[in-house]
Symmetry: C2
Subunit: 184 residues, 2 copies
């Protein structure tokens, strides 16, 4: 593997295809503590994170890919609403969110495949409203790493609930030392 950080559509979609089932296996049917407790103040719990992933499927990744392919840098992406799930998840159960995420992800991966992207398409550029020029491959790589950042967050938020319960072992558990690294 000469260039380990080179983008591969097959590799990125392999991650994207697996995240819904991994989160489903982790979260479905869990006692309430693990789903609805957060890290204090305005932080997110697992339910909030699932809602956020759904909003991304609806408004972020594939819509932005289409903007790049249709308009390039001429039309900046619509800004992403990091708090839309507060309204959109209201009245839903965690199980509904898990189903919805899996369904939307499946549709989006089918739509991505239908684009039949060629290597030259992956270098096409769009304009992020805050970050400036980005490429389609960067967008698709970010989609996959965004899944991983929220899997990383879910595991941390869950572990936080037992931060005192583990007693002296806390010194050995890296996840309890994770500051969260929140995006601005």
């Amino acid at each position: 593997m000469a260039n380990l950080t080179e983008f591969s559509l097959a590799e990125a979609t392999a991650v994207l295809a697996r995240t819904p089932a991994s989160l489903n296996a982790l979260l479905r049917g869990l006692p309430q503590k693990w789903v609805y407790c957060n890290e204090g103040n305005d932080t997110w719990n697992a339910f909030d994170i699932m809602g956020h992933l759904i909003v991304g499927e609806r408004t972020d990744w594939m819509p932005r890919a289409r903007i790049i392919l249709e308009s390039g840098e001429a039309r900046p992406f619509d800004p992403f609403d990091r708090f839309a799930q507060e309204k959109e998840s209201q009245g839903k159960s965690l199980e509904q969110l898990l189903d919805e995420f899996a369904s939307l992800r499946g549709e989006n991966l089918a739509a991505l495949q239908a684009l039949n992207l060629q290597p030259e398409d992956l270098t096409r550029r769009g304009r992020h409203p805050a970050l400036g020029a980005v490429t389609l491959s960067q967008l698709l790589a970010t989609w996959a790493v965004h899944d991983l950042t929220h899997l990383h967050q879910v595991s941390r938020v869950m572990a936080y609930q037992y931060r005192d319960t583990v007693g002296p072992w806390g010194a050995y558990l890296g996840v309890l030392k994770c500051g969260g690294h929140s995006a601005p």
Copy 2:
């Protein structure tokens, strides 16, 4: 939920029962990059982490629970070998490790249930060779948080492979800012 950090055997085992399927859904069949690339130097990749989880099932959690119940603080736990998987995983596939972890975890949760632990058992004490006095509830809570720390680690190690590929979005992806928080 009056005391959110209070230990509950049902809550801890709910996490322990889900981790194997969550990791299986995330990792099985992934392209090699996500499984065999690490964070540089002597860090662990996803394959190493699965091997470590298996060693824990064999030598750490339930053996230590039994030492607490049988000998209390009189017999310190055997030290845990954090590198045993280097030998034990040799020649195995990731898929074998995923199967082995799920199988051992199932056996261990059945053995835990068969102990029919009562609330007073959970306060019984053992002796960790480095940390000193610990309780059975702390051991069992740590077993669950240890799963979460390695899910946290797997997601970070995978994301690391695309740290450059995401381009300017790296600024927004918390998992790429995670230092690892390694245990001593």
